[in-house]
Symmetry: C2
Subunit: 197 residues, 2 copies
């Protein structure tokens, strides 16, 4: 009898293998092509094994979404520690957002239920998302010390412009080159930051 082809892995390795595979399929074929069986095949297990790590496909997607927000938080935090000027901070945070959506579109899609991805877990209850909100709000506050209500308003506006442009840029990327969209994005975000003053 032959030795087991499958390499021995611990729980952590298998778990991250599942996540990695899901993202990989999504990137290459779109989220509608991501299935539990396909993931299981790729990690050389049968489908039920996936359920030992994630209670459902929805929970799996929620984890990928959280990964995305955690990554964003990390990057925003890096920016805040890198620059002193609040204007510069917010502008650079905007650019990180664009870069993230460009380089890991499949994660960005699942974060906002775009392009057929559907995670039914409510986004606003996600701690990782709230952490991102807080760091941006804090940045805006250091900028314009107003009431919490006003800051939330400005954050909502910033988020809308940023996300709206990213989403439309992705949607129209075949008729309007991404580089061109990025130029408009930079200009718009710069203007938003400037007008805050």
């Amino acid at each position: 009898m032959e030795t087991i082809e499958r390499k021995p892995r611990n729980r952590e390795q298998i778990r991250s293998g599942i996540l990695k595979t899901a993202k990989s399929i999504a990137r290459q074929e779109g989220w509608q092509a991501v299935s539990i069986r396909k993931i299981a095949d790729a990690i050389e297990y049968s489908a039920p094994v996936v359920y030992e790590y994630f209670d459902s496909k929805d929970v799996l997607l929620d984890e990928i979404r959280s990964e995305g927000f955690r990554y964003l938080y990390q990057e925003y935090d890096r920016i805040v520690n890198l620059y002193r000027d609040p204007e510069k901070r917010l502008y650079e945070i905007s650019l990180v957002q664009w870069e993230f959506a460009r380089q890991q579109p499949e994660i960005y899609q699942v974060m906002y239920n775009m392009s057929g991805a559907l995670c039914t877990m409510p986004i606003y209850e996600s701690e990782s998302m709230q952490a991102v909100s807080r760091i941006v709000c804090k940045t805006i506050f250091s900028f314009i010390p107003k009431s919490e209500e006003s800051i939330k308003r400005l954050y909502f506006q910033w988020w809308s412009i940023s996300h709206g442009m990213i989403m439309l840029a992705m949607l129209l990327k075949d008729e309007q080159p991404l580089d061109h969209s990025e130029q408009i994005y930079r200009e718009s975000m710069r203007r938003f930051v400037r007008d805050l003053r």
Copy 2:
């Protein structure tokens, strides 16, 4: 032998019944719950009948998307004929966009592949969408007569702000009431229009 329970209907009635049913299911249970079989059940036919009217589910969704853009075009056209002032026109068009997304979210969702809806037909090749683009661009042009390139830029910005806010408002509607979001929307769109001058 008993008479057929099912009422006699012509092709047009059946076709619009399919579209109506799809939207109805989407509204009540979300797009992920819309299936050909469920539609067929609702219109009291078997599943293959649906394929006599739409080549695929994708084509069905594309038709609903087009319906949405045609409706928007109609409304924008009405606004343009109602007001003389270009600023007023663009602002009112913005409000129509909000009202549409609020009253027929399921159509808005399929137009932009939100919330799990997925229509793979490229949106930019849709004539009905291009008609909408043209009427807004024309409105902006009557406002600021610049190069076609500049107008497209401004249109992209207008669209991003509008769509970004609508999308985030829908996403966060459980923690931020829609009326509050609408207030910010109105203010933002008004500001955008004013700053164009």
